[in-house]
């Protein structure tokens, strides 16, 4: 199966998206198609043996839309330019139509709004010069119709293809108004001057102008919803300085190849992913991870495209270029997420599919009903036009995808990559979160936590001896001691003799003294008494720490305890989740005592200890069997089965391929506070979607009956089609504006 993303142009409402899905979905070999109105993209999964991409494109073009490759090189810029051009064109059309609409409205309504005393030249007085008056309106309406010609070409084509859309409603409504007005002009020509009151040109003109205004605002708002992805796209530099044959050559980023040696000066952006080969610097990776602190990089360290080289000149070898860089993958991930549909969108899609034909029926029934009841043709026609114009399938179509676009975009901005609408929607239902311990709650790297001295030895001396003894050790516990000594600027001593005692520790001679460093067993075997430090040793063990005993010349000199330390944000994040009513559990392969000690420190009550990696998924399954909606938070590699089993898998990682593939949500910063942020973002997005759907549905549910004359039935007012058009335009804009409110979302600190 191949999956292609196609850029679709020409869609105006949810009915268009539904139509494309229906037509493409019927093609042999197409297994799945999802069209997103907000991103104007179609994700098509198809069997290339059965159907070709060109056939899929043809089928889309056959029904009046254009399909372009969204992922071809340079497509980003083309897409940006195309959208900018579209916005410019829409604004031009709106301005042209507004320029003609204002005088049209002035002349048409001026004579009706007599109390405002709009002066009208004598030769245009409707009752005295009705033909002049009508001709002026025709001439003012024509440019507006030309500006809005697309409503007619697309709308009537859609009707002919029996898949009416929003354009069909506009086209039908305004055409009815124009045809009736032309009939009135004919009446004037044959001497029925009273027909001058039956001119509806201004209705058609104002409707088109307002819809064009709505479309222009919609296009601008749509552009804002995808700002996050644009920001990401804009991060990559355009060129790179490559060292070839000892010379520095600046080449376009597309020409960089894997293995190229690249030079990056201070202040410049890293052009592609790679490994530092020379130099030392600190790099700002905040644009990828959201982490504001620059990270030190030296030879052998990985660096990522679009991050900023802060202070040193470095050389690095390109390891990933083009679409394989971490940045490109993040962009793809966010784009895929924005193109995906949340389950909640399905209801809107189903409604949208039937919406336009139903509106046509309601308009026709309203028209005939009022006509049969004895109302005039003009009255009935007003009802017909109002119903067609007020109905707004576009608001329905935009309600969900725009919120998802802004929500996922906002997440990406904070280093929270949400892999789709479904993940976004499911996250808000989570009531249990299982955290992996190592590397998730803890840093995943042992560090010295306690230094206990005995026999009168100084603390720093003990650390100096221990670190000197462990010098050159590759054992993680030894590395922790050396790191701690380096941190305290302790000078290491020369080791005169070194002997490793497997499973126990080491024995070294430093400055003539015999140093033993190892576990309790080693001390026991050498007959070294631990009574002096027993109480402290027991306490450390209870706290889940690993005590390393140090003896100098067969006398206990102290303990250095090493443990995997908590991340700074762990306790705060867990407390926040608990305050949100979410049960928090910890899962680990550690023994229960150690696990419980860790859990206590961060405030977790439920501990799933001594669980083998392969059993983690089963533990998640057990929780799900209890009826819980479970999120699993892990590092995305050894926790992959559990991440997959959970309702939502949240990977803590720095954007590695595995993390991205295995989880529904990837936290780029490895900061646990992003877990409550992700859930809160999901809740905010779903709330926003519900608000949008409420407005979109509510608007139609209230607007259509008013337009059909229900209020008039009870002595209330009749809806003027002009106000119907204004309301219709406002509905889409209000839905988009509401979605854009999500941009104000702030993460937990």
């Amino acid at each position: 199966m191949n999956k292609e993303i196609l850029q679709i142009t020409g869609m105006t409402c949810a009915a268009c998206a539904a139509r494309i899905e229906k037509v493409v979905g019927k093609l042999d070999g197409v297994s799945n198609v999802s069209v997103n109105l907000a991103t104007e993209k179609a994700a098509v999964s198809y069997d290339p043996q059965v159907t070709k991409l060109s056939q899929i494109k043809q089928s889309i073009e056959k029904i009046g839309y254009k399909a372009l490759d969204a992922e071809k090189k340079g497509a980003v810029d083309e897409d940006k330019l195309r959208k900018e051009k579209e916005i410019r064109t829409l604004w031009t059309k709106f301005i042209v139509s507004a320029v003609f609409c204002v005088p049209l409205l002035y002349f048409a309504m001026g004579s009706m709004i007599w109390w405002l005393r709009f002066p009208i030249p004598a030769f245009l007085q409707p009752m005295q010069f009705p033909l002049n008056y009508a001709l002026l309106q025709i001439f003012l309406t024509l440019p507006i119709v030309i500006a809005g010609y697309r409503f007619y070409t697309v709308g009537f084509k859609a009707i002919l293809q029996r898949s009416p859309n929003m354009d069909s409603l506009i086209a039908m409504g305004t055409t009815a108004a124009i045809l009736y007005s032309l009939y009135s002009v004919y009446q004037i020509l044959i001497g029925n001057f009273g027909a001058v009151e039956g001119l509806y040109f201004e209705t058609a003109g104002v409707i088109i102008t307002l819809i064009l205004l709505g479309k222009s605002l919609e296009a601008v708002s749509k552009g804002k919803t995808s700002e996050a992805i644009k920001k990401l796209m804009g991060l990559a530099p355009k060129t790179a300085i490559v060292l070839r044959n000892g010379e520095e050559t600046e080449i376009p980023i597309d020409e960089v190849e894997i293995g190229d040696e690249i030079l990056v000066k201070p202040g410049e952006k890293i052009p592609v992913d790679g490994v530092v080969s020379e130099g030392h610097t600190s790099i700002d990776e905040s644009m990828l991870t959201g982490e504001s602190m620059p990270i030190d990089k030296k030879a052998g360290d990985k660096i990522y495209a679009a991050s900023i080289n802060k202070n040193g000149m470095i050389r690095f070898k390109a390891t990933k270029v083009g679409g394989d860089t971490a940045l490109a993958q993040i962009i793809k991930l966010v784009e895929d997420a924005q193109s995906s549909k949340a389950p909640i969108a399905q209801m809107a899609d189903i409604v949208s599919g039937y919406f336009v034909p139903i509106v046509f029926c309601i308009a026709a029934i309203g028209f005939l009903g009022w006509l049969i009841s004895g109302e005039s043709l003009m009255f009935s026609l007003t009802i017909f036009i109002s119903v067609l114009v007020i109905a707004c399938p576009c608001a329905l179509g935009l309600a969900t995808p725009t919120a998802i676009m802004v929500g996922t975009g906002k997440g990406a901005e904070y280093g929270i990559l949400i892999k789709g609408g479904e993940a976004l929607e499911s996250s808000h239902k989570i009531n249990t979160i299982v955290f992996d311990k190592t590397g998730t709650i803890t840093e995943g790297k042992p560090a010295v936590t306690d230094i206990v001295t005995a026999g009168g030895l100084q603390r720093n001396k003990l650390l100096q001896l221990a670190a000197s003894a462990e010098k050159g050790s590759e054992h993680p516990l030894g590395e922790a001691i050396i790191k701690d000594a380096e941190k305290e600027n302790i000078e290491l001593l020369k080791v005169e003799r070194f002997e490793a005692i497997p499973g126990h520790g080491i024995e070294v001679i430093i400055e003539g003294a015999n140093i033993l460093l190892g576990n309790k067993k080693l001390m026991g075997e050498r007959g070294i008494s631990l009574s002096e430090i027993k109480a402290k040793s027991d306490r450390l063990a209870e706290e889940g720490k690993t005590p390393m005993y140090i003896a100098v010349d067969n006398q206990i000199a102290g303990i250095i305890a090493v443990a995997d330390v908590m991340k700074d944000s762990s306790a705060k994040a867990i407390k926040k989740l608990q305050s949100m009513g979410i049960e928090v559990a910890m899962i680990t392969g550690d023994n229960r005592k150690t696990a419980e000690a860790i859990a206590r420190q961060v405030g977790i009550d439920r501990v799933l200890a001594e669980v083998l990696p392969q059993d983690k998924a089963n533990e998640v399954k057990k929780l799900q069997a209890e009826g819980k909606k479970v999120a699993m938070v892990g590092d995305g590699i050894n926790d992959a089965p559990a991440l997959a089993q959970a309702d939502i898998g949240i990977a803590i990682g720095s954007g590695t391929d595995v993390a991205m593939e295995s989880a529904d949500i990837v936290l780029m910063k490895s900061d646990l506070l992003d877990v409550p942020t992700a859930i809160q973002l999901s809740k905010s997005t779903i709330k926003n979607i519900k608000q949008n759907l409420f407005w979109a549905f509510g608007y139609n549910v209230v607007g259509i009956p008013i337009a059909v004359g229900v209020l008039h039935l009870f002595g209330g007012p009749l809806l003027n089609p002009i106000f119907a058009a204004a309301a219709m335009s406002l509905s889409s804009v209000s839905v988009l504006t509401n979605a854009l409110r999500l941009k104000r979302f702030k993460p937990y600190k």
């Binding site: 033909l131 002049n132 001439f139 009273g194």
Partner: protein, 222 residues
């Protein structure tokens, strides 16, 4: 799009500059006025006193007079002339009427259309003189939608109206007066014999639909 709009605007300029062709009300009023003249041939005469034409009502007590040449000295170029007696009987104090309104036993209301010499191709006829009003003084020609009447505005709310289509209208010609000046001069408009005092829907100068009092004397010619 720009070219289309330019073409449309040029068309608008050309069309509106040829306003005479698009003046359907003016043109239709000529046709219907001609019908009225034809229907009342024996009642249409030259009016030597005022240098124009006079259409006398079937009752013989009212006349609509229109000038054939505005340069000829006359009190008005378009006017109504009617018996003063019913008004006097209704309480009118003729001394309180504006000067020049009462001529003998007749009251005259009207307005000047100008001072220019009017030239005709061929002989002047009642219809061609009316055509001159339409062409030269178009703002004095009105269409009254409620009654489907055309009319000549005689100023001060006074009109002479006629039906656009005599076959479908029961008020083929109407002498319409603003009663205010008679009320001001002491007449009770409701008591003016032979005239109907009624409310009529009209548009004011700003296009505002209003109801005004009128003294009406309609005639059905067919």
């Amino acid at each position: 799009m720009k070219i289309s709009i330019i073409i449309i605007m040029l068309s608008l300029v050309v069309t509106l500059s040829a306003c005479n062709q698009t003046d359907v009300v003016g043109n239709a009023s000529i046709t219907s006025f001609k019908d009225i003249i034809n229907a009342m041939q024996d009642k249409v005469t030259q009016d030597e006193m005022y240098g124009g034409w006079a259409l006398t009502s079937p009752g013989g007590k009212e006349r609509f007079i229109w000038s054939k040449d505005y340069s000829v000295s006359a009190p008005h170029d378009v006017m109504l002339e009617f018996d003063a007696k019913p008004f006097i009987d209704a309480g009118l104090d003729v001394n309180r009427l504006p000067a020049g309104m009462l001529i003998g036993d007749k009251i005259m209301v009207g307005t000047s259309l100008g001072n220019e010499k009017i030239n005709y191709t061929g002989e002047a006829t009642p219809v061609s003189s009316y055509e001159k009003i339409v062409k030269l003084k178009r703002d004095h020609i009105k269409y009254h939608a409620d009654l489907d009447h055309f009319g000549v505005d005689l100023g001060d709310g006074n009109m002479f109206e006629w039906a656009k289509n005599m076959s479908t209208n029961d008020k083929d010609i109407v002498f319409a007066l603003n009663p205010q000046m008679f009320i001001d001069a002491g007449a009770d408009p409701a008591k003016v014999e032979g005239w109907a005092f009624a409310k009529v829907k009209v548009m004011d100068a700003g296009g505002k639909p209003i109801e005004v009092d009128k003294l009406l004397k309609p005639f059905n010619l067919k």
